[in-house]
C-alpha cells in the first residue's frame, strides 16, 4: 500500500533521512519509533507529499507521490505533529470545508460529517469554535479531518501526544478500530503504545532505519541475549578475566568499582545467549575462588531497552 524506496532528505547541511526504504501492507498498522530529531516527521511529510525527497520515491497504492500527487494525496489522511487547525472556524464548518476540499460529493457530505463527528466523539462540540476547544478535543478534530473522505491510508504524527490517560486510551482504541480497514502509519515516543496498537515497528535513528519487525519479534530477537548483573567482592582484573573465560559469555562490561572495608565491590554486566542460564556456573566459580558474591540477577529486556540499545549504538552494529 505504501512503498518507500531509498528515500533521502537533505535540509541544507543536515541529512534528515538517509536511504530509507520500507513497505506497508494494506490494512497494516505500522509504528514509527525513534528519538527526537530521528526523522520521523520528515519521513511522514515526504509520504504525504508536503516535502519532496532529495532522492528516492514514494508510492501510495498505484500512485507515485511526485508523479501523480493529487491522486496519491487523495488516498491519505494526515494528522501533523502540531495539529494545525483554523482556530477561527467552528468544528462543523471546518470539517465541512475539509470534506469539500477532499471532494466528498455534496449529497453524501451531511451524512459523512455526522458519522465522522460521532466516530471521533465530537458530536457534543460540533458548534464550538476550534480555538476554544481543549487540546484533547482539538486532537480529535485533527483526527476527524484526517478521516474525512475515508482515505484508505492514515498518517498520524504522534496522535496521542499531550492527551490525558483516558483520552489516550480512547484515541488508541479508535486507531485500533480503524486499523482493520485502513493502512496506518503512526509515530510515537511511547513505547508500550507501539506494542499495543502496531503490528510492525520501524525504529529510525539519525535518519536511518535501524530495525523493522513486529514488536514481539523485536523483543524475542534481542532476548536472545540475556543479561546478567553481578556484584562481587573481587580484584577487578582477575574477576573480569574469569567472567570472560566462561563459555557462552558474549560481552562483559565492567560497571563501577567501589572500595569497601572488605575489599573491592565490582559490578559487571554480562550478555549471553538465552539458551543457557549461566548463573549457577558463575556463582560456583566465584565461590571456588573464595570471592564474595553480593548480587546475581538476570535482567529481561523491555522494548524500552531494545530501543535504547538500538539507538545508542552505531547503526551498523545494531541489528544482527
Amino acid at each position: 500500500m505504501i512503498e518507500v524506496r531509498n528515500v533521502s532528505k537533505q535540509f541544507g547541511v543536515t541529512r534528515a533521512l538517509n536511504d530509507v526504504s520500507f513497505t506497508v501492507r494494506p490494512g497494516e498498522v505500522l509504528g514509527f519509533l525513534g528519538p527526537n530529531g530521528a526523522g520521523k516527521t520528515t519521513a511522514m511529510r515526504i509520504i504525504t507529499g508536503i516535502l519532496t525527497a532529495t532522492q528516492g520515491s514514494v508510492r501510495i497504492g498505484d500512485f507515485d507521490v511526485d508523479e501523480q500527487p493529487l491522486k496519491a494525496r487523495a488516498m491519505i489522511g494526515y494528522l501533523p505533529e502540531s495539529v494545525p487547525l483554523y482556530r477561527d472556524m467552528h468544528v462543523e464548518d471546518y470539517l465541512g470545508f475539509i470534506a469539500r476540499l477532499k471532494g466528498v460529493p455534496k449529497a453524501k457530505r451531511e451524512a459523512h460529517l455526522t458519522e465522522t463527528l460521532a466516530r471521533c466523539g465530537l458530536t457534543s462540540v460540533r458548534n464550538r469554535l476550534i480555538g476554544k476547544l481543549s487540546k484533547g478535543y482539538r486532537q480529535r478534530v485533527g483526527i476527524a479531518q484526517a478521516l474525512t473522505a475515508n482515505p484508505p491510508v492514515l498518517v498520524l504524527d504522534e496522535p496521542t501526544e499531550g492527551l490525558d490517560p483516558k483520552q489516550i486510551i480512547e484515541i488508541r482504541n479508535l486507531i485500533r478500530e480503524l486499523g482493520g480497514e485502513r493502512t496506518i502509519i503512526l509515530s510515537t515516543h511511547i513505547l508500550p503504545e507501539v506494542s499495543m496498537i502496531c503490528e510492525r515497528v520501524i525504529i529510525i535513528n539519525r535518519g536511518s532505519v535501524v530495525a523493522v519487525d513486529t514488536p514481539a519479534n523485536l523483543n524475542r530477537s534481542l532476548q536472545k541475549q540475556s543479561v546478567i548483573r553481578i556484584v562481587a567482592g573481587a580484584p577487578r582484573d582477575d574477576f573480569l578475566s574469569l567472567c570472560r573465560s566462561i563459555p557462552g559469555v558474549r560481552t562483559c562490561e565492567p560497571g563501577d568499582t567501589q572500595g569497601t572495608a572488605a575489599g573491592n565491590r565490582i559490578t559487571v554486566r554480562i550478555e549471553s545467549s538465552t539458551d543457557m542460564d549461566l548463573r549457577p556456573q558463575i556463582a560456583s566459580r566465584i565461590v571456588q575462588k573464595g570471592w564474595e558474591l553480593f548480587e546475581l540477577s538476570s535482567e529481561t529486556m523491555t522494548l524500552e531497552d531494545i530501543f535504547i540499545q538500538l539507538v545508542t549504538r552505531e547503526p551498523e552494529g545494531a541489528v544482527e
Binding site: 532528505k9 535540509f11 534528515a16 520528515t42 511529510r45 504525504t48 507529499g49 508536503i50 516535502l51 519532496t52 493529487l70 491522486k71 494525496r73 487523495a74 491519505i76 494526515y78 501533523p80 502540531s82 494545525p84 487547525l85 483554523y86 482556530r87 477561527d88 470545508f97 475539509i98 469539500r100 476540499l101 477532499k102 471532494g103 479531518q145
Partner: protein, 256 residues
C-alpha cells in the same frame, strides 16, 4: 474548480470574521469619502470660476475631477492592499495549517488563485461601496459615465497587481508584518520607478523604468483612455507575481 471555489469561499468568508478587514473597509470608506468631498468642492469652485472668467478655459471632467480623485484613492490602495494580503499565506505558515492544506488533493495553483481572487473580490466589494459617491453625482449633475468606468477599471487593475504582490510576499514569510512591509516596498517601487528616468535622457533604462512603472499605465485609464497595452501590463504583472508565489510554494517543498 470545486476545490478552487472551496478555498475561495473560505478565504472570502474569513475576511468578514477578521477585524482587519472591517478596519480596512471603514478607513477606506471614510478616506475616499473625504477625498471625494474635497474634490467635488474644488471642482465646483473651479467650474464656477471658469464660468465667470472664460479665460480659465473649459474644465474637463476626466482631467480635472476624476484624475485627481482617483490618483488620491490609489494612494490609499498603495498603503492598504498589504493589509489585505499579509494574512493569506503568512498566517497559514505561522500556525502550520499550510502543512495540512498542502496535504489535501488540491493543486497549488488552486490554492494561490483561490486566495488571490478572494482578496480581489473583497477589494471589489469595497470599491463597489464607494460607487455611492459617483452615483450621488448623477442625482445632482449629469456627468459622463465613460471616464468613471475606465477610472474604476484602472483602480481594479492596479488593485490586482498590488494584491498579487501581497500574495507573493505573504508566501515567502510566516511573519505578517514583514509580508506587509515587503509588499508595500514593492508597491512603492512600481509606483515611483517612472519618476526616476522622467524625461532626462530618454535612454534605454528610463524606457524600461517607464514600462515597469504602474503609474504610466494607470494614468491613461483615469484620463478616460482605454489602451490594450496598459491592460496587458496589469494582467501580466499580476500573473508574474502569482507565478512567483507558485515557485515559492514549490521551493518550500524541495527545501523544507
Amino acid at each position: 474548480m470545486n476545490r478552487f471555489l472551496t478555498i475561495f469561499n473560505r478565504e472570502l468568508g474569513s475576511y468578514f470574521i477578521s477585524p482587519i478587514a472591517y478596519i480596512v473597509m471603514a478607513v477606506f470608506m471614510i478616506v475616499t469619502g473625504m477625498i471625494f468631498y474635497s474634490n467635488v468642492v474644488f471642482y465646483a469652485q473651479a467650474s464656477a470660476m471658469s464660468l465667470q472668467n472664460p479665460s480659465f478655459g473649459q474644465l474637463i471632467l476626466a482631467e480635472d475631477f476624476i484624475r485627481p480623485l482617483f490618483d488620491n484613492i490609489c494612494v490609499i490602495l498603495l498603503f492598504m492592499s498589504p493589509a489585505l494580503t499579509m494574512r493569506l499565506f503568512s498566517e497559514e505558515k505561522r500556525s502550520g495549517t499550510i502543512e495540512l492544506l498542502l496535504s489535501y488533493p488540491v493543486r497549488d495553483t488552486e490554492i494561490i488563485l483561490g486566495k488571490f481572487l478572494a482578496c480581489l473580490t473583497f477589494l471589489v466589494i469595497m470599491t463597489a461601496l464607494t460607487s455611492c459617491y459617483p452615483i450621488f453625482l448623477y442625482f445632482t449633475g449629469n456627468p459622463e459615465i465613460g471616464p468613471f468606468l475606465t477610472a474604476y477599471l484602472g483602480f481594479f487593475l492596479m488593485g490586482a497587481v498590488f494584491l498579487s504582490i501581497g500574495v507573493f510576499t505573504s508566501s515567502m514569510t510566516d511573519n505578517q508584518i514583514i509580508a506587509a512591509l515587503f509588499a508595500f516596498g514593492i508597491n512603492l517601487v512600481l509606483w515611483i520607478i517612472g519618476w526616476t528616468g522622467g524625461g532626462s535622457d530618454g535612454g534605454m533604462l528610463s524606457g524600461v523604468f517607464k514600462y515597469v512603472s504602474i503609474i504610466e499605465h494607470y494614468d491613461p485609464l483615469v484620463k478616460g483612455v482605454l489602451n490594450s497595452q496598459d491592460i496587458i501590463y496589469f494582467i501580466s504583472m499580476s500573473g508574474l507575481f502569482l507565478f512567483l508565489s507558485h515557485r515559492v510554494l514549490i521551493a518550500r517543498k524541495l527545501r523544507g
